[in-house]
Symmetry: C2
Subunit: 170 residues, 2 copies
DNA sequence: TTGACATAGTTAGCTACCTAACTATAATGG
DNA sequence: CCATTATAGTTAGGTAGCTAACTATGTCAA
């Protein structure tokens, strides 16, 4: 996935006015709100990232472990993992390299198709999740509780509308 | 800025139930909503990223050019740019390397303090912005118009509340 | 049955982010 | 006035993402 804007210094209305002189009428509110949404998304993501990093995981690795734990035999393939976590196969190769190096997953050959191999969650990998998840879930609950169920519903609804309309950038 | 989750495969309620067996009561709605918010943030960011990439810019570089254009003399320093765009000085060094290589900015010595130097937006850099910005602003406007002013106001309000509460991850 | 195409994974080389350690210069205070 | 501390920028080495090109294997159809 691409990196996300980290603007600590959003433009104020004055600056946007100056840009408008060059580029014509600008919907100042729309621009400020759009950039703010991107920035808050970054902030939330970084909050989670810091939490995971302090527990020896990073977002990409954490998600791979979770995907493996979902499987009944704790096993999957690089392609499947790449597709489910939404990264390229090349990126997944490197994530697995790091996880295998740390002993959190293990590569296992596949007899039926020699192009493939399997990735299995190890006991150490499960143990790492067992440290993280019982701290993760209550925090998410505590955070989301700041909004009522109806508010959360509406927030998602509106974000989804924006996402659909983000086609304008195509 | 850190990378953001790219989960294409959010857990369903069944899977979260399985996890609950191991980790105790989980607020399934809260977790799904939180992950969805992160994911939509990524999607919006990637939409902008793709738009910029097709015009020869990436988010980090685009923002540096904009920060320079805001200045009356089109000039700033690496430290200032790093602080305003929220990246480390090391990252800014590399962004400037790339921009200077492409001729979009220029490094200029500083007589008064020989540790410093200035970065100035070049004519080519201004031209690049002049290609991008007149296409950027109307698109943002068109996208945000899917929500009423009141809805946008409320969306921001609720996101800000979540951001404040993201302290739970500290 | 073999030649063409498809699939699985890796490698190489790029961007962009980080921290920590480094160099050079400036500022300050005994 | 010089030793310490602070500041500006770079470098080194790490993670995480991408595309494109590659190897190896499997599949399928003429």
């Amino acid at each position: 996935m691409g990196a996300m804007l980290q603007l600590k210094d959003l433009p104020d209305a004055l600056i946007l006015g100056k840009f408008a002189d060059r580029y014509g009428a600008v919907d100042v509110d729309a621009v400020l709100q759009f950039l703010s949404i991107l920035r808050i998304g970054t902030d939330l993501s970084e909050a989670l990232d810091g939490f995971l990093a302090r527990r020896g995981l990073l977002q990409g690795r954490w998600w791979v472990l979770i995907l493996l734990m979902r499987e009944d035999d704790l096993t999957s393939t690089p392609s499947e993992l790449a597709e489910k976590s939404g990264v390229s196969r090349a990126t997944m190769t490197r994530l697995i390299d790091g996880l295998a190096r740390d002993g959190l997953v293990k590569r296992l050959g596949d007899r039926s198709d020699r192009r493939k191999y399997s990735i299995r969650l190890t006991a150490a990998g499960q143990a790492r999740l067992d440290e993280v998840m019982p701290e993760y879930y209550p925090r998410v609950k505590r955070m989301m509780k700041v909004l009522s169920a109806a508010q959360r519903e509406q927030l998602l609804q509106n974000l989804l509308l924006l996402k659909e309309r983000s086609k304008v950038f195509q």
